[in-house]
Every structure is written in structure tokens, then in C-alpha cells.
């Protein structure tokens, strides 16, 4: 009995040892790929950082106000953020490559699918980034225009513009990722349409007088101009 158990044990250990011997090279390969990937990711991160510095991403982002927003959210500056992102993307790719080296079929399939999606993810991230830049830029422009035009709710206008652009950006990013395409499209259309309709109603009904004034200015310039002049006269000192 002892002999059978020992023999079984030997056979099992032997099989295990054999499997291990078979598996070990793959693990080694995986570890090497992990390490190499880490080094490459660092190198790519440095290169990407340099390229982005050349492309003045920092000043672009500062110019549009994105830096301030990231700062508020306790996030690092765009350059750091993006270069870190590049590092992680490259290393994750190598990680996946490494895992693929284990030669597990199921894993293989999933990893290939992941690699196929990777470019789309990239593009979606770029869309998001540009969208955020644009949202900041235009919302600030709207804020300034509204403030200088003496509109009382300038911040609301600015926020609204930012919201709209971000919404559009997200929709575009999702579209790019081909995630729930139809749902996103329909949701976006409804949301956008509803917003526009409510704006129109608000303007036409609630802001009747303003609408009238604007139309007069367009089609009856003299009277409107005169009124404007009187108004200006009462409130402003001519700067020149």
C-alpha cells in the first residue's frame, strides 16, 4: 500500500514537474516581456513627453484653461497626465503581450480582441482630450462675451456651453468606441433636441422683448441704433 501511494505520488509529482517544466519557459518569457515592456514604456513615455512639449501641449492646455480645471480636481498637469497615460498604455500592451506568451488559448483570443480595440481607445481618448480643450476654450469665450455684453447670467451661459460641448465629445468618443451606438445616438439626439426646444421657447415666450429688440436692430437699424445710443449715453463714458 505504501508503495502504491509513493508510486502515485511520484507519478503525480513527476507529471507536475513535467507540466512545470513545460510551463516555466512561458512564465519566464512572460516575465521578460513584462520587464522589457516596462523599460520600453518608460522610453516611450520620455519620447512622448518630449514630443508633447514640442507641440506645446502645456501652453495649449493652459490657454484653454484645462490646466486650471485639472489642478482643481487634484490632477497633475496635462503633460504629466498624458505622458503617464502613454506609459500605462504601452506597459499594459506589453503586459497583455506577456500574458499572451503563456499560450493559454482563451486568454489568447481575449487579448487579440483587446489589441484590436486599442486604436479605437486611443482615438476616443484623443477626442475626449480635444473636446475638453474646446469645451474650456469656448466656455471661457462665452463667459467673456456674455460679461462684456452685460448679460446678468454670464456664468450660466458659459457653463451651458461647456456642458453642451462635453456632451457632444462624450457622444463622439462613445461612437468611436462603438459602444451602445444606437442607444447613445438616440439619447444624445433627444437630449440635444430637448435643450434646443426649451431654449427656443424660453427665448420666444419668456424673452419676447429681447427677441423684438434683436429683430429691430437687424431690420430697422436707425430706430434701434438711436435707442441703443441713448442707452449707451446714459451708462458709458466714451473711452476715446
Amino acid at each position: 500500500m505504501k508503495g502504491v501511494v509513493l508510486q502515485n505520488l511520484n507519478q503525480t509529482l513527476g507529471r507536475f514537474y513535467g507540466m512545470l517544466l513545460q510551463f516555466l519557459p512561458h512564465v519566464l518569457a512572460m516575465l521578460i516581456i513584462f520587464l522589457a515592456g516596462w523599460v520600453v514604456a518608460i522610453i516611450v513615455k520620455i519620447i512622448a513627453r518630449r514630443l508633447m512639449a514640442l507641440a506645446r501641449v502645456n501652453s495649449l492646455s493652459e490657454g484653454t484653461g484645462l490646466t486650471q480645471i485639472l489642478k482643481k480636481a487634484d490632477l497633475p498637469a496635462p503633460l504629466d497626465l498624458l505622458s503617464q497615460l502613454v506609459f500605462w498604455v504601452v506597459w499594459v500592451a506589453f503586459l497583455l503581450l506577456g500574458l499572451d506568451a503563456l499560450n493559454v488559448t482563451e486568454l489568447h483570443v481575449q487579448i487579440s480582441r483587446l489589441f484590436q480595440v486599442l486604436p479605437e481607445i486611443f482615438v476616443a481618448l484623443i477626442i475626449l482630450f480635444l473636446g475638453l480643450l474646446a469645451a474650456n476654450f469656448f466656455s471661457r469665450a462665452a463667459l467673456l462675451a456674455a460679461v462684456n455684453a452685460n448679460l446678468p447670467s454670464a456664468r450660466v451661459v458659459s457653463g451651458f456651453v461647456r456642458f453642451l460641448i462635453i456632451l457632444l465629445t462624450i457622444a463622439m468618443a462613445l461612437e468611436q468606441l462603438a459602444l451602445a451606438r444606437r442607444t447613445v445616438l438616440i439619447t444624445f439626439t433627444i437630449a440635444f433636441g430637448a435643450i434646443m426646444l426649451s431654449l427656443a421657447i424660453a427665448f420666444g415666450v419668456g424673452g419676447r422683448n429681447v427677441a423684438q429688440a434683436m429683430l429691430e436692430r437687424m431690420f430697422l437699424p436707425t430706430r434701434a441704433k438711436k435707442e441703443e445710443e441713448e442707452k449707451e449715453k446714459a451708462e458709458e463714458i466714451p473711452p476715446l
Binding site: 467673456l144 460679461v147 452685460n150 454670464a154 466714451p238 473711452p239 476715446l240
Partner: protein, 439 residues
């Protein structure tokens, strides 16, 4: 063919010329002139006749022997302005204490090519001055209600007889008129460029043919420059390039309809934007420039009682508070924390206590200038953030000096000018500061 001294002959005619064939034909008929007076127009039917008559009498009275031409580059008027220009005439010279002109009185009026705007009109005039080899030029605004024949003498004589190159006008202003120029642009230029010019945005000028050709040869025409931008550029370029500048007293400044719009925000943007761009271009010059010198003043300054400008106290204050509040996030990118704190404190003051101290105003402007130079945010956005602060300063200045007379106000503005001079080093420090670090 010999050119004017220092100017190579025939080198300035731009390829994409603003001069139409008709214009050129009329110029050919005129031939060489000694004096060129330009009146750019766009729908000025109400005032142009008076302006032309005043100029004609002025030229006859003061420059009877000189070959003169009156040129009207028109931006496509639809109200008959060019026809009025051509037909305006003086019926009886005897009543104006001058005899009939010795020479043919030349008048050239034609539309110019290019984007309608005073900048294209000025380029056209400079080209005409070059083609006609004019020794002295004057540019006169078409809607000056206070123009007299003496303006011709005031703008041209220093150039034609005294060899100056640039004559800046001096007007008798209403009490709080033109504070953007008197409280911002002029003191900055005086402090930095070392030249005290009271009116940097004209719109009436005298300049030598030499200077007109010099302007023509610059690249500024290819850029997207605005009217006020061009005038600020002209003045600062004349200073930097070493031309002889003087001032000449013209009298009260009363203009007809606000041709260029007295939209405060837009005007501040244009004028200050132009000023800041000039500071960028001329950095090497103004950083090493010394204390400002006063310019020779021609003419006999006098005072005339002018009706004051009406404005609303409460309205301006409320606007200021609301606007500054809403723009805080943007101002944080532009101004230093100290300045920001002071502005916040100011915002909280009541209408009666409200005061925008001179030193704070100077620092505000200099910080804006430095931020503009470093492009901390989009430059156009930066300039749009200034008008509310400008309004605040104007309100403060006006409230504090309501009872003062024009002479006192001039003194206050003079003192403000000294503040700008004294804080010049502050600007130089801010100019080259690292972005993000010092804030």
C-alpha cells in the same frame, strides 16, 4: 529718377495694390505735390461738406503757393459721400479773409480696393503720398464737427516748415473724455517709450512723406490689424524708428456719430491689444529707454466750455461688481494673487467708498501686459477680461474727481503717468517671470 532722401525711388508700391485704376488716373493728372491731405470716408454725408470746405480754405490761406491735393479714399459709401466731397466748394473766399487760390485746387475721390476700413484707407493714402512725392501729409477725420481751417496749418506747418515727421494732435477734451487714452495708453507709452504723446489714437494726424513711405514699407499691412491698432502702431513705430515728433493744438474735439463705435469692450480690446502687441515687438527698445520727455507743442492752447458727458453712477458700479465676480476664474490666470486680493477687497466696497487706487491700476495693466506677452491664456480672451476692470477704474476716477475742474484732472492724470513710470521695473520683472512659479 531720384527718390526722396533716404527712400529708394519707387520701391514702396505694394503688389496687391489698394489703388484702383480710376484712382491712379486721377493721381496721374495731379502730378507731384507738396502737401497731401487725406480724408478717409464711409457714409459721412452729414459732415463731409463742412470738412472739405474748411480744408480748402485752410490750404488756400496758409499754403497758397504750395501744390496741394485733397484725397478721399472711400470705403464704398452708399449715401453719396464721394459726390458731396467732389462738389463741395467755397463760394466766397473774400468773406474768409483770403483771396482766390493761385493754383488749381485738386480733389481726388475714388473707392479703394481691399477690405473696407480705415487701415486700408490709410494704406491707400500712404501709397498716394509716395506716388505723388508729397513732402507733408495730413489725415483728417471726416466727421469732425469742430474742424477749422487752422487745423491745416497746425498739422502741416511743423512738418513743412520745421522738418518734423509726425504731428500728434492735442485736443481740448471734456472732463472725463477719452480716459482709455489718457489713463492707460498714453501713460504706458510715456513710461515705456519715453515719449509723452497725449493722443495716441488721433484721428487727426500730420506726417511727413518720408514717414508715410516708411510705414508703407512695413509688414503690418499683411497682418490682420484694426483701425485703432494701426494708429497705436504708427505712433509707437515713429518713436522707435527715431522720427521727429511733436504735438499740435487743434482745439475742442467734437465728432459726429460714433463712427468707430464707442462700444467700450470692443474699443478696449482693440486699442489695448494693439498696445500690448507693440510692447512685444518693441521689447528691446522700451526696456532700456529712459525717463519720458515732453514733446514740442505747436499752437496756442485755449479753453472752451464743453458740455460734460452724462453717465450713471450706480449703473457703472453694479456692472463692475457683477462682471469682476464672474470673471474671477479667468483673472486668476492673469493677475498675481496680491493684485487679485486687492481687487476682491475693492469689489466689496460700497459705492461711496469705492476706490481703485492708481498704483493698483498700474499694476493691473502691467500684469495684463506681461500675461499677454507670455500668452498665459488665449490672448484675445485675456484682452476681453480687461474691460470690466477698466470700467471699475473709470468709475473710481470719475467719482473721486466729480467736482474737480479740467486742470485738476490733468494734474491727476499727470500723477498717474508718474506711477506708470515708477513701476516700470515691476513690469520688466513680470515680463520675464516663469509661468506658474511665482503665482
Amino acid at each position: 529718377m531720384a527718390g526722396r532722401e533716404g527712400v529708394p525711388a519707387g520701391s514702396q508700391l505694394p503688389e496687391a495694390s489698394t489703388i484702383s485704376e480710376e484712382f491712379l488716373r486721377q493721381l496721374t493728372a495731379v502730378g507731384e505735390v507738396d502737401i497731401l491731405v487725406g480724408v478717409p470716408t464711409f457714409n459721412n454725408r452729414d459732415t463731409i461738406e463742412r470738412v472739405v470746405s474748411a480744408l480748402q480754405v485752410g490750404l488756400t490761406k496758409y499754403f497758397q503757393r504750395e501744390r496741394c491735393v485733397l484725397i478721399n479714399p472711400d470705403g464704398g459709401s452708399t449715401d453719396g459721400t464721394p459726390e458731396i466731397f467732389k462738389n463741395a466748394s467755397v463760394r466766397d473766399f473774400g468773406l474768409l479773409l483770403t483771396s482766390n487760390p493761385l493754383r488749381t485746387f485738386h480733389r481726388v475721390s475714388a473707392p479703394y480696393h481691399g477690405i473696407p476700413g480705415k487701415e486700408t484707407a490709410l494704406r491707400t493714402l500712404f501709397t498716394a503720398a509716395d506716388l505723388l512725392r508729397a513732402k507733408a501729409c495730413a489725415i483728417v477725420s471726416p466727421d469732425s464737427l469742430s474742424i477749422t481751417p487752422e487745423w491745416v496749418d497746425s498739422l502741416i506747418r511743423p512738418i513743412y516748415r520745421e522738418n518734423f515727421d509726425f504731428v500728434a494732435p492735442v485736443y481740448q477734451r471734456r472732463k472725463f473724455d477719452g480716459l482709455l487714452v489718457r489713463g492707460l495708453v498714453s501713460p504706458v507709452v510715456a513710461a515705456l517709450y519715453g515719449c509723452k504723446i497725449r493722443e495716441l489714437v488721433g484721428p487727426d494726424w500730420g506726417l511727413s512723406g518720408r514717414l508715410a513711405c516708411h510705414f508703407l514699407g512695413k509688414d503690418v499691412w499683411e497682418e490682420d490689424i484694426t483701425t485703432f491698432g494701426l494708429e497705436v502702431w504708427m505712433t509707437t513705430t515713429a518713436i522707435v524708428d527715431g522720427f521727429r515728433i511733436c504735438e499740435s493744438f487743434l482745439g475742442p474735439k467734437i465728432q459726429a456719430a460714433k463712427q468707430y463705435g464707442q462700444d467700450v469692450a470692443g474699443t478696449v480690446r482693440q486699442v489695448v491689444g494693439a498696445l500690448f502687441r507693440c510692447l512685444d515687438t518693441h521689447e528691446e527698445f522700451w526696456k532700456t529707454r529712459g525717463a519720458p520727455e515732453a514733446l514740442p507743442l505747436y499752437g496756442f492752447p485755449y479753453d472752451v466750455a464743453l458740455e460734460p458727458i452724462p453717465f450713471s453712477k450706480r449703473g457703472i458700479m453694479d456692472t463692475f461688481r457683477a462682471q469682476v465676480d464672474q470673471l474671477m476664474p479667468i483673472l486668476e490666470s492673469i493677475l498675481t494673487p496680491q493684485t487679485l486680493v486687492e481687487i476682491r477687497n475693492m469689489e466689496r466696497l460700497s459705492t461711496r467708498e469705492f476706490d481703485y487706487p492708481s498704483e493698483l491700476w498700474v499694476k493691473t495693466i502691467y500684469e495684463f501686459a506681461a500675461a499677454h506677452h507670455r500668452s498665459v491664456i488665449n490672448r484675445d480672451h485675456l484682452l476681453q477680461a480687461l474691460p470690466p476692470l477698466y470700467r471699475g477704474w473709470v468709475s473710481s476716477f470719475v467719482f473721486r474727481n466729480q467736482k474737480a475742474d479740467a486742470a485738476n484732472i490733468d494734474q491727476k492724470l499727470e500723477a498717474l503717468g508718474h506711477d506708470f513710470e515708477n513701476l516700470k521695473s515691476y513690469l520688466i520683472d513680470r515680463w520675464s517671470a516663469e509661468a506658474g512659479g511665482e503665482r
